[in-house]
Symmetry: C2
Amino acid sequence: MVEGFRKYLEFRIEVSESEFKEIVKLLELKKVLKGEKLLHSGETCVHGYFVLKGCLRSYCISNGKEYMMQFAPEDWWIGDKNMLTKPDISMVSIDAIEDSWVLQFDCDFYDNMEKIVPPFRYMMQELQQNNYRSLQKRIMTLISVSAEERYLLFVKTYPSLINRIPLQMIASYLGITPQSLSRVRSKKNLTS
Amino acid sequence: MVEGFRKYLEFRIEVSESEFKEIVKLLELKKVLKGEKLLHSGETCVHGYFVLKGCLRSYCISNGKEYMMQFAPEDWWIGDKNMLTKPDISMVSIDAIEDSWVLQFDCDFYDNMEKIVPPFRYMMQELQQNNYRSLQKRIMTLISVSAEERYLLFVKTYPSLINRIPLQMIASYLGITPQSLSRVRSKKNLTS
DNA sequence: CGAGGCCTTGACCGCGGTCAATGCCCGTGG
DNA sequence: CCACGGGCATTGACCGCGGTCAAGGCCTCG
């Protein structure tokens, strides 16, 4: 199971056999059942996760409704980013969309990883830049294009997620209602 | 003029007289006139900026329309975040909303700053976390609340910007048209 | 004084939200 | 094995928020 993480790392930075053994000590392998919560918003986030198998999501709850923040299928990181510097009340909740296997780590994981494999720092920096940029893109599409175009863009960007994630969650991610999403989809099916 | 930056730093990390002199060598003081462009989207971003006086903004252009990404009044940093790790084509443009004074720095600024004042690293990490979190919040409001509520939230969050930034830019930031913003504002004036 | 940019206001309309009903799939228990 | 219930997706009817188009006022600057 942990092999997935090893491949992920090796694809990006050089990691020796012994280094990887050190790294594994920083991590805890966990099975998470569908629907199981890993973080409640309002709590302090003390763990981050790397998804080996399955899919997690982070979302906010506001006046009884869920608003999707992020999906995390295989090879994605997820957690409240604030965890890294100053532990603080989290604005998001995290749970599993499918039965999943994850690697759980603590606040000091990044510092420790950097001590074992220094280039890890740059890998993470780049990751964060990409994250930042994808949030920017999401904002841009939210303020500039219609619901239909946002859906098409989502399909193009994450084709593998469409048949995997409940439509109501995708609707929430796109900032529309499940009904609207359904209409958009049925319209597209006719023309294709 | 540079005193503003000194105060900004001293408020967050310890910096000696001599260290600050070193730091200043990494920076270039620049006057920017209203409307002057500092970065065209599509170019590679090689500079970041710290605003001493005035106000900059970053925005995207898509099918002829401007979409506001960020406002940067005094004591704010602005630049294409990607600059830090791998120089790449920028998706945003940056220009001045008012006649401004800024400190311009290069890609290696962060590394050099860290060498002079190590705690700078944590200051910047925290800054980036805050940045990230504010993007998350913006996404949340875009997908969860009405145009009117977004405006009220903006007023509450950035009261000093309302009388300073052209309304059309605020409208763009909120993801609505200038006309809609005008209507929202006139409605509120009647009840207050 | 005139031109142009910015903000406002009005009339109209369509996208997408809301409410409600229906169908489908699937897990649970009789 | 079938019956039942609940969650999810879909569809229809209706409506309101916010976009669009157009006109008019105000201010600044040449």
